[in-house]
């Protein structure tokens, strides 16, 4: 049976990853937690804008957090933000795709047609409310609702580019990483999104 000296020398030839020092093991999740705490609410709101349903948005954000922590926590912390949003956007797209398939499937079934996701839009939602003397907070809330509605009507890539650049403040290179496309595409998507939104909301705001 090998003694402790033999075991210690065995570590010298072990070609796998050496165990991390205890300090590093403890420090590591602390930095990750700080990062997640900074972005979690913004990420939730962005997911909610895209998905409408708060429970779905929470699920997608939670899933993105877990995937980042499990698979990319060892990467430099500067890479976490674009990686996290890439995971998040993939999750949102995946959920939207599943919803779309489910909706198509439901139309094939007999019986009363229902809209399980509440996607049916009331035409009045897009009509500007011109009533005067509305409190400021309420006006802010309504303005945000209109912005969200307009964002949902954008093509997905334009919406992603606008939210990542404008809401989250990612630069072009980070947005390109998060979206998995070139920087030129990011600029194009963002420019078109701003143009469309300004056309739709300019008069209302």
């Amino acid at each position: 049976m090998p003694g402790f000296g033999t075991l210690n020398s065995a570590w010298m030839v072990w070609d796998g990853p050496a165990p991390a020092p205890e300090d590093e093991v403890l420090e590591y999740p602390r930095e990750l937690e700080k990062f997640l705490a900074e972005i979690e609410r913004r990420a939730f709101r962005m997911a909610q804008v895209a998905l409408r349903d708060p429970d779905d948005a929470l699920d997608v954000v939670q899933d993105a957090m877990l995937k980042l922590a499990r698979n990319y926590a060892a990467r430099p912390s500067a890479e976490w933000r674009p990686l996290f949003y890439r995971i998040l956007e993939n999750g949102i797209r995946d959920l939207q795709r599943r919803r779309s398939v489910r909706k198509r499937f439901m139309t094939w079934l007999p019986g009363p047609k229902e809209d399980p996701e509440g996607e049916a839009q009331d035409p009045l939602d897009n009509v500007a409310d011109s009533a005067p003397a509305i409190p400021e907070a309420l006006m802010q809330g309504q303005a945000m609702e209109q912005l969200e509605q307009s964002l949902r009507n954008l093509p997905a890539r334009q919406r992603e580019a606008f939210m990542l650049r404008n809401f989250e403040g990612l630069d072009v290179a980070e947005t390109a990483t998060a979206m998995g496309c070139s920087e030129g595409s990011v600029k194009t998507h963002y420019s078109r999104a701003v143009h469309t939104l300004r056309d739709q909301l300019g008069e209302v705001w």
Partner: protein
Amino acid sequence: MNEQRPEPVLDSFEERSRVLFNDSVDSLDFAVRSRLTQARHAAIEAAAAKRRPWFSRVGVLAPAGMTAAAVLGAVLWLGSPLGQHAATVAEGQPNLEDLEIVASSDEGGDAMDMLQDDIEFYDWADKAANSGPATAS
């Protein structure tokens, strides 16, 4: 992290969009914040567990492994033929193998044949034993 990032130049529309979004983030209700905190803790725990050295995970799993091995051993013992035999003998009930040996022609069958061949001798021996001291005939 956000405070260290250079602010991009935004026009009034973009600026207003950002302000509205930030306000909506700040006004999230307590339930959502709580669930986000729980999700964050779960993620951190997952990262910490993956980061932990493998031998510390072995240390945690060792008692559970030993318990599982003990349970498996007990199940195998009770389910084995040896375990069943021991239980049968203890209860004093006939074993199927024993019955087969008794019924086979090599053992009990020969004994019965011998009894039938010398039936008169065994009848005399039985009467002699019950009638007391033997007399000369």
